[in-house]
């Protein structure tokens, strides 16, 4: 892992188009500003992980498809 020391308002560049700037340093956290090209999606890590875990738990086998569909239909 690359490690940098940055002061408030200082930034690092990643590749051509991504800039990460320290906006504020507080007692409990650091506020970061991110500039990135449109095609680069930026997320909080824990949010991405939550969605990834949810997606992985959502995979259905062919055998489960009909069963789940039936339960949903009945519930309507």
């Amino acid at each position: 892992m690359l490690v940098f020391t940055r002061k408030r308002h200082e930034a690092i560049m990643i590749g051509d188009g991504v800039e990460v700037r320290v906006l504020r340093v507080g007692k409990d956290g650091v506020r970061l500003g991110i500039v990135a090209p449109n095609e680069v999606r930026v997320h909080r890590r824990e949010v991405y992980d939550q969605i990834r875990d949810a997606n992985q738990s959502a995979v259905v086998s062919p055998g489960q498809l009909a069963q789940v569909a039936e339960r949903l239909t009945k519930a309507k």
Binding site: N38, Q50, R52, A54, Q56, A58, V60, A69, L72, T73
Partner: protein, 140 residues
Amino acid sequence: MNPAPAVAETEITVSEAVTFPDGIPGFESCRNWVVMAAETATPLRRLHALDGADASFLAIDPRAVLDNYRCELSAADRRRLGAGDTDPLLWLAIVMMESNGALTVNLRAPIVINPKTMTGQQVLPHNCLYPLRHVLVDAE
């Protein structure tokens, strides 16, 4: 920054492969998916990966779950989908089977597909208040 229209004007069907340039979280290598009607006559759809992994999901239009479902796409999300402000988009929320047998649906991070460009992505809105696991059917 338009909210999803309250009711899709026409039933949007997608029969060819839809490209997800980033895959979806957990299935980053699955770039091509098909959307099929599920077996029954419910609003249920089946998302199936054509590459990367053998993955199938059940999904449902979030507006069939909550009438007033609103989720704003950012300008960047729209650009990634090649969608103008008025293009009809297909919204799908992924259905999950919980370990206790309940069926839940992910209303927080919907799949959005632009049928015009056949491009899709899973949107992770920064300000979405809907639950990650909204209960559709209670545990048996």
